[in-house]
Amino acid sequence: MNRFVLPLAAFALLLVVLLVGLKRAPEKNNLPSPLIGKSAPQFTLPNLFDNTRPLSSEALKGHWSLVNVWGTWCVECRAEHAALLQIKQQARVPIIGIDWKDQDEDALAWLAQLGNPYERVGTDHDGRVAIDWGVYGAPESFLISPAGTVVYKHIGAMTPQVWERDFLPRISATLGRPESPATPASAPVGTGSGA
């Protein structure tokens, strides 16, 4: 073998490394949230639908919930809206919306037009709560366990595939137990921050 083939051989070797790297790339790109496994950050936000009853993080206790950070200005949020409505129809988990840096009238118009997948919506006008939750950019979705801990975080638009692949298995691992998510009514929904 002559020495002029060596560069080609080196390149072939490099290709193998790149290919292996590429295969593993998806795992690396899941930005793990430091919140996972910890209690969901505390918050109290104005309720989009009812000014007199603010939404607090207490509403996440006692049942599985999906916290979805969105805004009417957000391109991907529009794309994921149908998926959220579908999840709501399956009635597995109440969706708590955090309307991020948005106008109330825009948000209400958006929900009236596209349908409302949310059990409740808190309005985070100045974005402080989103900072506590470590939000990079809307939309982001968090899965919260009945104990109030963050189990999983998805960055980007929610899709039925993502829901079935990443969220459902984590919930069904505990299905059948008393804290089954199917009955949000059992949760102290109304107590809010009044406590």
């Binding site: 490394v17 292996v20 790297g21 590429l22 790339a25 690396k28 391109v75």
Partner: protein
Amino acid sequence: MLVELGHYALILALMLAAAQAFFGLAGPALKRERWLAVVPSAACGQFVFVSLAVGVLVHAFVDNDFSVRYVAENSNSALPLFYRVTALWGAHEGSMLLWILVLGVWTMALVANTRALPPAFAARALGVLGIISCCFLLFTLVTSNPFVRLIPAVPDGNDLNPVLQDPAFAVHPPILYMGYVGFSVSFALACAAMIEGRRDQLWAHWMRPWTVMAWAFLACGIALGSWWAYYELGWGGFWFWDPVENASFMPWLVGTALIHSLAVTDKRGLFKSWTLLLAVTAFSLSLLGTFLVRSGVLVSVHSFAADPSRGIFILLLLVLMIGGALGLYAWRAPLMKSVAGFEFISRESFLLFNNILLTIAAAVVFGGTLAPLIADTLGLGTLSVGPPYFNPSFLVPILPLLSLVALGMHARWRRGRLGEARRPLLLALGVSVVLALALSLGVYAHPLPLTPIGATVGLWIILSALIDPLQRLRRHLRLPASVAGMSIAHIGLGIFVLGITFVKSNTIERDIALKPGQSAQLGAYQFRYDGVQEIVGPNYEGFRGQVTITRDGKPVTVLYPEKRSYWVQGTVQTTAAIAPALSRDLLAALGEDVGAGAWSLRLQYRPLIRLVWVGALIMALGGVTAVIGRRQGGLVANGAALPVDAMAPESVREHGGAT
């Protein structure tokens, strides 16, 4: 409608690029004279349609057309007009389009300068460029189409990443790409030479100006990127050995080696196969850089479009382009062996050392950049490679290289004599040692062990680069552009070395919490924190601090560092305030509100940091001088055996028929 036309224009450009590639390569191979004539027309047509596509996308940005997904994701109606235009290359899809446009610009430049080349050779080079263009157009259309519609449209867009809302960023990618992509011409010429199996060295003569221009653009691009990171990222550093930075630095190192080995091949007919390999490698590293940044294989603070599915596509393109060229090399390079010798101490051997050391330096960067990946592949776990690896290992080849520059510049071709340059060189060395000691012990006290060495080397390079021009001036000889360019570039290198040396050894940094009225002392400078106030900008709000700097009680300047919160993306951006001067930079950046009226602040004093960028720009200026001077002053007889441009067409035609 317009957007669909842009999309359509891009598809037409792909067709024309395919025509350019096919006729360019098949024409000479099948000896169809007429096919050759199609090649420049196809290249021009491709450029026109690529420009149209870019124009349409720019229009969509300016017009706030949020029915285009790419526009909606990267712009906002509150974004100033200037940034709405530069948002074009704010993310992956547009960057790819810019890449293709820049390739088109270089292709047009080659088309405009083919008169000096044999028609078949020019057609082959353009054909290779056509293949590259095809690959990237296909990649863009299939995996990264910027013309995809968003239905239904959104009322307003997601805004441009705030880090990128900056004047330096606006010009940085185009210039960097001019460098990156510019090596495609050297690559294409090398491939054409290998396809023809040329035994002469004329191809090296043709390749030189293209390589030097691309190299100069890349130097400017890297300097601009470093400067941008310095003040925009707010950390105060100017080089982080980040994968994205390395991706542009490696082609530059190899390009530097290529420029020097081209000189040997052009003038002496030596190092032919090595030069070809460098030409292929320089562009391959540019392509690899694109792959690393785009595929998500390496995670970087700069990369904004990581997508593994695109990665597979790019990998296939790499196999085609790099694998193809290296295969060609394995097949053809043995035919193109060099036939001449040289003594151990001669310019040839200095340039050989230059090449070896630069290649080692590039390999050091390459190894460090890919080490995390290789460790991962071998199952050794996660490995993080940073400045603690790069800084010392990079010095190992670079310090000897810099020490040899002064001698190498004045060594004679073929024979080992420094000749009449010997005495001035020793004089320059003596002066450099004295000056360096004075600087590192007197002006900039508390040196590191390497400080006097770095200063000596830097000064010696500058002074010895002046010897040749001064001697010619004294004897009323003309200064050829090539000599002037080389001197300027080496002076730039010396200035750069001085800058790095002192900024590394004499920087003072303090991270400190201060209440209004409190001060911190950095060297001779006193930084007094005066407080913060709230501010509101066009698309952000935030805080502006005030820091008054005095020296020996006399006011120097007032700095206003900012911390901005961009509404739409909710990102917080620290904008450092910098008082620049040639002799030193003073920097203040706002940290956090730590309560009780106090803010944490980052304060820095960095001596001579400007020399780092000024040096890089002067290096680039040297390259441009050599190229422009060569075009204009091609008839200047400078005594060397340089085949003059004006003679080229004739001599070229003779060789052209050889294959």
